[in-house]
């Protein structure tokens, strides 16, 4: 089973690194907007087992995602020597995926002048610069088929709940966002995101998280191969 090193809280990551639980060098670090993104990521990787690379995940919970992500990219790109990929997962919020990715790019330009954005898929991007010793990928998450103004990773979880027939579609209209709904569902059913994903039918997971899985494959392959 693939285990991802959770970098926050740092005391736990320190313990694992000091006790040599992580023996190999890391191939990729995922930088997520919030804790929920990293929960989904870990659940998904455990379920689909498509990534064999040595991975770590961190998040920007409670802080401005764009500026935090920018700092993380700039730092990792300059100090890492063997890391192959930095992989960003950021909420679309009320923006189109390309606009959200461009906001990271614009923020990065204040630190690194020659950055450019390459669109790999409609919501998957690569950020390139001559200064980077590591490849930087970004995935803008959100299911625009859901009737909310703001889109985020919880959209996929909500979609999974619908596909698994754990909730009715009309229930979703009582909430302002997927996050509200998912929070309440998790609390009332005393479950976790990871359990939900692990217990779901593989087709439902594939349908709910299709583009995120594609992204993991891209990053996983890049992390292993190039």
């Amino acid at each position: 089973m693939v285990e991802i090193l959770q970098l926050k809280p740092k005391e736990n990551a320190f313990y694992k690194m000091a006790r040599n639980v992580i023996r190999r060098k890391l191939d990729a670090i995922f930088v997520c907007e919030g804790r929920r993104d990293s929960e989904v990521l870990k659940g998904l990787i455990s379920k689909i087992r498509i990534v064999e690379s040595n991975l770590a995940v961190t998040d920007c919970e409670g802080k401005d995602a764009i500026s935090e992500v920018t700092m993380y990219i700039a730092t990792l790109a300059s100090v890492s020597r063997t890391l192959k990929a930095v992989s960003i997962i950021i909420d679309a919020d009320e923006y189109a995926p390309a606009d959200r990715a461009r906001s990271i790019l614009n923020s990065l330009r204040s630190r690194i002048s020659d950055v450019e954005l390459i669109e790999i898929d409609r919501d998957i991007f690569e950020i390139r610069s001559q200064a980077f010793k590591v490849r930087i990928f970004a995935k803008v998450v959100g299911d625009f088929g859901l009737p909310y103004e703001r889109h985020m990773i919880d959209d996929y979880v909500l979609r999974l709940l619908l596909l698994e027939e754990l909730i009715e579609e009309e229930e979703t209209r009582r909430y302002n966002s997927a996050k509200e709904f998912v929070n309440e569902f998790i609390e009332s059913s005393s479950t976790t995101i990871k359990e939900l994903i692990l217990n779901a039918q593989p087709e439902s997971v594939q349908n709910a998280f299709g583009n995120l899985i594609k992204y993991l494959k891209i990053v996983g392959i890049r992390a292993r191969g190039s």
Binding site: L7, L76, V79, T82
Partner: protein
């Protein structure tokens, strides 16, 4: 005023280092990394470089020269030049130990070579013009790419006086030195008192170590046979030897820094035996002295607390700090990554302890 400072260093075949290059050195340079990654070897190689300018070991009572100090400082076994192979990478004495140092004041690097075929590191050799610069005072050969000569002759020696003084006064401050407090007191106390720098030490003892110190004194406890440093308290006078290890180390470090000027200090793991508040106070005073006395410092550490305190206090005192992460491959090549203070902050914010940088 022209300030001598090391800008870069390249080391080959010394102790744990087959090769290592370090550029863009600052006023305060901190080396982090796993055990056996080459941090202490780099400190030692700087001390060896300084031996080319002044061979005499000033602070130790067990040995009288810097090479002997390096041969014995990790464990005193009475090693001498006959045991020289322990200074060589993999004990392979075929190639010379080479240390190239670039200074801010000179375009040419200084090249220091130690050959195993020297019957003694002080032996005097005649070298062809353009090969070596021989220091007349201490004859470990130092040469520059330009072929310029450094001699003690007034006209030419004067030209390099700053550089010679800078290297000559290097001090190696390590754990072994704390065991030699008596000789250090003897050598430094008079100068410390003359300039009333003892007051700085008293202040640190009071504020950092909760020692109710009123003053320092140098007194005898055996009817004048020997003298030793003691702290005057309101109700008695306490020998320095009877203080805790942390306080004794602080006294040692501050005495050395107070009396050093326009030179470099090589400091190994200053966090040992230190409570954070003692460490903070000592560091605060130490960095004040570093700034006042124009001292370049090279420090190894395993402590994140030390790193944090050093960065914060240096920022307040406007001292440039750079952190260097060391890692060594199986062939003995030491790779160094530079980390700015901001890099360390961001890595920590990310949950990534910078001491494990080798994982990425």
């Amino acid at each position: 005023m022209v300030i001598v400072m090391i800008k870069s260093i390249s080391v080959r075949n010394y102790r744990g280092i087959r090769s290592c290059e370090l550029d863009d050195l600052k006023k305060a340079n901190v080396f982090i990394g796993r055990n056996n990654s080459g941090k202490s070897s780099l400190l030692e190689s700087l001390y060896l470089a300084s031996a080319a300018f002044c061979f005499r070991e000033e602070l130790s009572k067990k040995v009288d020269n810097k090479v002997s100090y390096l041969l014995n400082r990790r464990c005193f076994r009475g090693h001498n030049w006959g045991n020289k192979e322990i200074l060589w990478y993999g004990y392979d004495i075929e190639q010379p130990i080479s240390i190239d140092v670039k200074l801010e004041t000179r375009t040419d690097p200084l090249r220091i070579r130690l050959f195993s075929w020297h019957p003694h590191p002080l032996v005097k050799h005649k070298f062809g013009r353009g090969d070596y610069i021989c220091l007349v005072e201490d004859d470990v050969p130092v040469y520059a790419a330009s072929g310029a000569r450094i001699t003690s002759a007034p006209s030419e020696g004067q030209k390099f006086k700053r550089e010679i003084d800078f290297f000559s006064n290097f001090k190696f401050v390590d754990g072994a030195l704390v065991q030699e407090m008596d000789i250090i007191e003897k050598k430094l106390w008079k100068d410390l008192l003359k300039r009333r720098l003892d007051k700085l030490v008293v202040e640190v003892l009071r504020e950092g170590y909760e020692v109710d110190a009123e003053d320092l004194t140098y007194t005898t406890y055996d009817e004048g046979k020997t003298y030793q440093l003691a702290v005057k308290l309101p109700w008695t006078t306490l020998r320095v030897d009877d203080l805790g290890d942390g306080a004794r180390y602080a006294i040692l470090l501050l005495m050395i820094a107070a009396l050093s000027k326009n030179t470099a200090l090589l400091i190994e793991e200053p966090e040992n035996h230190q409570h954070p508040s003692g460490l903070a106070k000592t560091l605060d005073m130490f960095l004040t002295l570093v700034r006042q006395n124009n001292i370049q410092v090279f420090i190894t550490t395993h402590s994140l607390e030390f790193l944090m305190l050093l960065r914060k206090i240096s920022e307040e005192k406007k001292i440039d700090v750079e952190i260097y992460f060391f890692e060594r491959d199986k062939q003995g090549r030491v790779y160094v990554r530079e980390l700015t203070s901001e890099n360390v902050d961001v890595l920590e914010d990310m949950g990534f302890d910078p001491r494990f940088l080798d994982l990425i």
